[in-house]
Amino acid sequence: MNQYDVVVVGTGPGGYVSAIRAAQLGLSVATVEDDRPGGVCLNWGCIPTKALLRNAEIVQLFEKAETFGITVQGMKADYAAAVQRSRSVADRMAKGVEFLFRKNKITLFPGTGSLKGKNVVEVRGKDGPTTLEAGRAVILATGSEPKSLSGVAIDEKTVISSNGAVRNETKPKSIVVIGAGAVGVEFADVYRSYGVEVTLLEALPRIVPIEDEEVSTQLTRSLSRRGITIKTGVKVSSVKPLAGGVVVETDGGRFEAQQVLMAVGRAARTKGVGLEALGVAMERGFVKVSPTMETSVKGVYAIGDMAGVPLLAHKAMAEGVVAAEAIAGKSPRPVDYGNVPSCTYCRPQVASIGLTEAKAKEGGREVAVGKFPFTANGKAVALGETEGFVKVIADKKTGEILGVHIIGPEATEIIHEFAVGRTLEATVDEIMHTIHAHPTLSEAALEATLAALGHAIHI
């Protein structure tokens, strides 16, 4: 029997971060992985899609080159090459995780891990089963997998999930994307950039439904302008094969395409982990955890997608740190779930933190809203990227920054000014008194804050 202080099952962003943090704190750590280190994030999710989206962006820039006085002749965008590049980026990042494991003396056991007791993990790998014993704790970080609609099987050929979309080197002529959350919108962007006819379906009344309503409106306009067909408030009743493709029946019409991308969300991977036998408490399909990420079974921790919403890599990483530190006997600050940035990397990018305007007003609180469009931002105009805006929602009385919503160039980078500000409990006054370099896109953050205070300068 192999003994370690901590055994981590799953090496996605939650698992590998918790393993490294535990090792940093002097604990001996084993990790178990049935795929490649890095999990969905590095191999099949965040990172490879960002590589594809970069390709999509470059294609779009070429299409716009004329407006910069640059004429391009004979441009060819090879989709297979884009996927290959994306794969090599993912490979590189996965190798990075292997390097970090070696550096921190973390042992990796390839295979499927499951609990055989509260401190015993069985690994079924190629070379037969191995048993690992955890002296201090087991951290479960088995992640999530794409969901489908009931009665619709994902074959990764005609009905694909993000797993297939990120691997397939051939693009369809046309595709129906079901679900307009981050995954659906990002792939819609990639496919459209490569000339695919894209129909984006959303059951809720607007795309990117968790974002502020004004952001959804702006993004709908931007994506429609690029030729993406958007239907919201439609419920899919069936997805059936058709000669040379599929047909999607909805209460808002019938859509035919060569492929369907199922982007209706992700479900926690909790089967086969051994949770039931140990009596680990569950809640709405996720493992129930304490503020230090411990499950109902002492010494068994769960982090990341399997431990609840939001299903985001950076939330998993933060939870991984909390779990490792708690196991090492520290008293970590629990994850602040109200302050997790949410980012969508389509073009224009979408980023937000805190409450939407509607949510902020729900409690009957008086709010001040400031909005600043990138059309009035010098850097954005110079870049030729003027779509979108920054919107700041503040408490009228205290100036507390309740929520920030950005759509536009580098939105996913600009948001962190407000993430730091909210962590430090800065108010709109502190943002106002912070000198923002000129010319930068971040000036739009300052101006939106000033707008909330009623005195934006540049508009």
């Binding site: 129930k288 955890v289 304490s290 503020p291 100036g399 507390e400 800065a426 108010t427």
Partner: protein, 468 residues
């Protein structure tokens, strides 16, 4: 030449370890005797630690936030050219290491080491050390010829081990960093709008920073008097949140957890309960509180006064078991249990037998308020000869308290209730209050406790006696 060791002071009888909240001087700062070096958190209160030697604070060995046992070396004061290596070196082996891997700040960071004015003389002679100077034989190589300073013979290096004897309250002294309060901008705004004084709040953020939740908690916390009328807030039962959480023991909770079994198990408790008619006491109190310019008197103040007077005539209850003898006190120092969010503390009202009711009311209120702010001085936390614990504000009929050793007894006070009582003509409504005395059987017997309680009851039922 003198090297002054700064050690974690023992600020109360029970204190075993203390946490350095923050250093008010940094390495390289010149300090005079009496300067406040640091703030220390004990199991009872936050207190300031004074320097008893003058010189340069050469070394800080325990960083803010770390907890060390009493007596551990936490810093060194010496002249800029003194060799402190032997003293510091000894800390590693001799003094227990600080929890959480306290990192001694680099000595290179002390900029004034070389530039320190050499004219400043240590004024050791003015202030005797708490512990007699310990002559130490030093490595001869470490000795340097020094000009004669003060009473010491040249060449004899004197190492003084000094502890802070007189911790002063945080409230009455300007803090070393100019009174700056660490608070988030949002916390400051909410505090300004809700009239909360940030100086009175303990921050829960990183490094004790006051954050929004601290101010909100302070502004919604019931005032001392409001505790009598608890507000029932509707709580939405949650089935979605975490099932439980493990809360680390605060120093106070750890002290209570450690101390109470030391009483309940070895001290043979017995209990005597009596019911007191509060009708006249209640009326008197209302009458007194109607007088302009008089301090508000609480029921507890009446009981404190009654016990203080009664203890004088029942010295056997005002006594402590001392192994082979019983110590009988001639003065009454009353411990008053004060409930805090994180536990309880028992500040001591001294010489209460000699104080009139109004003075008791003022002093008891002051002690309770400062206890809630954790701003009590160490002497106010020890030396009680008898204690009172009152849960009346929680609508408790009666209860039994655990004796706080080495005291011999504690009185548990229930709430004043309106109950049906039998009068000469039948049934009436009266105010009644239960008193339960917990007694150490090694010190007294049942009858002694009962007689004491009988006299307390009589005094409260004939409350004018409390005024004379």
């Amino acid at each position: 030449m003198a090297v002054t060791k700064v050690v974690m002071p023992k600020l109360s009888e029970q204190m075993e370890s203390g946490k350095v909240i923050k250093w008010l001087k940094k390495e390289g700062d010149r300090v005079q005797s009496g300067d406040i070096l640091a703030e220390v958190e004990t199991d009872k209160a936050d207190v300031e630690m004074e320097a008893f030697g003058a010189g340069v604070l050469r070394k800080i060995l325990v960083s803010a936030g770390s907890t060390v046992p009493v007596g551990s070396l936490i810093g060194v004061i010496a002249e800029a050219n003194d060799d402190i290596n032997s003293v510091v070196g000894q800390a590693g082996g001799g003094a227990p290491a600080a929890e959480g891997g306290a990192k001694p700040a680099s000595e290179a960071k002390a900029p004034s080491d070389a530039a320190a004015p050499s004219g400043a003389k240590p004024d050791m002679a003015d202030r005797p050390a708490a512990v007699p100077p310990q002559p130490r034989s030093e490595d001869p190589a470490a000795r340097k010829p020094a000009p004669s300073k003060g009473p010491e013979a040249p060449g004899s290096q004197r190492v003084q081990e000094v502890v802070a004897q007189q911790p002063r309250t945080l409230q009455t002294l300007p803090s070393g960093d100019g009174g700056r309060v660490k608070a988030s901008p949002l916390a400051r705004k909410i505090a300004a709008q809700s009239g909360v004084d940030l100086k009175l709040i303990q921050g829960s953020g990183p490094g004790g920073r006051i954050v929004r939740r601290d101010v909100e908690a302070a502004s919604t916390a019931p005032a001392a008097a409001a505790a009598a009328a608890p507000v029932l807030r509707p709580v939405t039962p949650s089935v979605t949140g975490p099932e439980y959480e493990d809360v680390a023991l605060s120093p106070m909770r750890a002290a209570i957890a450690k101390r109470m079994p030391l009483s309940k198990a070895p001290v043979p408790h017995f209990y005597v309960t009596s019911e007191v008619a509060m009708d006249r006491g209640w009326e008197l109190r209302e009458e007194l509180n109607g007088l302009e310019g008089q301090p508000k008197i609480s029921v507890n103040d009446l009981i404190i006064r009654a016990c203080a007077l009664t203890l004088l005539s029942h010295p056997g209850v005002n006594a402590s078991f001392q192994g082979d003898r019983i110590r009988v006190f001639h003065r009454v120092h009353m411990g008053i249990a004060v409930a805090l969010d994180e536990g309880l503390t028992t500040p001591v009202l001294r010489d209460v037998h000699a104080k009139p009711l109004a003075q008791i009311a003022v002093e008891a209120r002051d002690l309770a308020e400062r206890a809630r702010q954790r701003k009590l001085r160490a002497p106010e936390l020890s030396g009680a000869t008898f204690s009172i614990s009152n849960l009346g504000m929680f609508d408790v009929r009666d209860f039994s308290a655990i004796i706080n050793p080495p005291e011999g007894a504690i009185l548990a006070v229930g709430s004043v209730r309106r109950v049906p009582v039998v009068t000469d003509d039948g049934l009436g409504v009266g105010r009644r209050m239960a008193l339960t005395l917990s007694c150490d059987h090694r010190v007294m017997d049942g009858a002694m406790g009962a007689k004491f309680l009988q006299d307390v009851k009589r005094l409260i039922e004939e409350p004018l006696r409390l005024l004379v």
